[in-house]
Subunit: 158 residues, 6 copies
């Protein structure tokens, strides 16, 4: 069985992430989406369990997907889940270099390969950071995130 | 009347920003320069009103320019000012991707288009962050910023 | 009156070009689209007059647009047409550097400024070169080009 | 069965390509390597059958790999071979944008997804074009290509 | 005598840095490696003196190298040490733009030129930030840093 | 003695190249500028001896510079001239990747290191290809090239 692990902060999960998961399910038998428990860049907007809940609801239509929590090295989780590969989305050039760096590090640490899934739809310029900024200032981002995320952003920022 | 809105942190305003405003005034009847009140990246070096004052003095020779404060979504301010377009400067590849992301977000939120004004003079590698670092350590950056900014940097760091 | 000149090879004109023209008409009173008579990169797929005809048909819904031929320096045509600015589309990083180079050259030669119009829709990865390759091999690109272009590609490659 | 198609000119096949194929075999049950019969960029250094022979010999240790010829649209070959996905190597930023463009085109044409396999070893800066130039001028590139390719380059350029 | 100054945070020093120093010693008679006392990006993992000690031990085999501390403007230190040039490593595109910016600033401030030393080995995707993250989570990075650094990381994170 | 080799097509030599040579002479005792005899990209605008003559005249003020012809591998010429390093100019991101590729290849072939000299003046967006195009169409590029080059361009396209 081909198993993929898709790790990220997902704070929040958006339509670009959704596109990556949907493409990954075409290639892998099982896709684990792992939400980083404590993102390094300060306090997250949503708690780890809020993020996991939102992702699960957003991916309910994809039967081969499971959402888990990530609190250790990605490669350790990958090994524990029996992952064949790590998958990451690629949007822009700046993604590309960070992701190449992490892919090499992860292969160095454990031998696991990373595959990149291009994100090239109309939402390819989406980022969680920008969505948070806009939502905080009252902008309507409901066209850019799955409905369960839009709902929670509305609850949070009114 | 063609109205442009040029938003930014301008902490501080430098010769690259000046170049963008000067090019914009050739195309637009009116250019609003909007200084972000509370930049997201920590405490600014200069307060919002200090920044506005410095920009106004630096642009006193351009009659079609007005300096305002920005405390909400850029697209909301753009609508309130009747802006035809948002203008942003483009220096380097890293700018390009961030700015494309914001341009798409702003068009998504309100339908307003963003135009990019290239900054390709000898000062194209200028950034406010680097200027702050150098000035803090006592470096002389007066050739890289308008005179009113050079004056205030000198007052601040002696 | 604010006049823009949008020069290019347009071999063929595609939906990304269309998106740029539509954005430019929101900012300028008049937009000239200038099809390069003899693109430097070998024999074009369509003759200059075929390309002009296709562009005109594709832009028939935009009243402030006029299609012309370009056989000299862009800056000379810009001066002759009384253009306020040159506009170019920006899709990707590789575009960015070429276009910055040309923008600086054109400003050096004549003082005219270039404005960049971002192309960030789902079709942002389109290019004329790739469209030609695919159409030549029998691929159906009719979703990626205006109808008048799709028609002529079909006539050419059957 | 998960089947990948890895298309390219491979003129000649080098250690960076080899690295991509080896990673792909860890994820896919079967990997087809398809050598473009007539690369668009002028006369190839090696004929299509020479290239296929060299690739086959270089990959003889990988049982799940098969080398084929590519003379039509990549998506048509992918469909004929029952490919689950197209795989491409990614080395540098310039690759990234071309490959994103083709990935989007291929998904537009047929719905097939492309996965990118990072090439981040010491040979990540390899390219077939540079290898041809150096070999032509008598440089020894045998550390950068599989032995069957090194052998044929030596026969060709003495 | 040709003297180079190689400034950086080196928190921690890794094999990519080592590669740059080794190349610099082939061109310069003397190479000063200057560890920034207080890196701007928050509390460093290792104190300034710890970092200096680790670098000195890692470079003990290179007789023309000396490790110093950096607490002022790079150009002021360069002048004090009689440096002919500043040298910096270049790995990736994102490095490139930051470094070009600093190189121009430094030449503006003092007339000193910067030379870039490419880092293109298998370790070209290394970064101190990523190494810190991985070591913190218990990953083994001893293949990616000199032995004296590996030792101290082990002491710190067990 | 520290000797640098600066290879290129120089068709024609322009102010960006001049800036690189001037910076290189501050670091090296001797700088050889090597004009590629037969550039790969089609017929050059100027013959090899025309290009050598123009470069020599443009660099007459720099006593430590010598202009030579390049008809073999760069690394072979470097060895014959006793070069300590190859130097190349770096302007933009697209340069960066090509040059990193060649630097690695050259180090692989002969062990010689490449140093990059940033080109960050107002002329950083110059390229020989663009200069040829503009001069061909009658544009005045005399502000962008040394006088001896401007003179010959005028004679050629006058």
């Amino acid at each position: 069985m081909r198993v993929a692990l898709f790790p990220g902060s997902f704070d929040p999960f958006h339509n670009g992430h959704l596109e990556v998961v949907e493409r990954a399910t075409r290639v892998f038998d099982k896709v684990f989406v792992a939400a980083l428990q404590n993102p390094q860049k300060g306090e997250p907007l949503f708690t780890s369990s809020e993020r996991q809940a939102m992702i699960s609801e957003s991916l309910a239509h994809l039967k081969s997907v499971e959402v888990v929590s990530l609190s250790a090295l990605v490669v350790d989780l990958a090994e524990r889940l029996g992952a064949t590969a790590i998958v990451k989305g690629l949007r822009a050039v700046s993604d590309f270099e960070n992701e190449m760096q992490m892919a090499q590090m992860n292969e160095q640490l454990s031998g696991i390969a990373t595959l990149f899934v291009p994100c090239h739809s109309a939402h390819s310029f989406l980022s969680s950071r920008l969505l948070r900024e806009v939502a905080r200032l009252g902008g309507d981002v409901s066209a850019l995130v799955p409905a369960p995320v839009a709902q929670r952003l509305k609850e949070k920022f009114g």
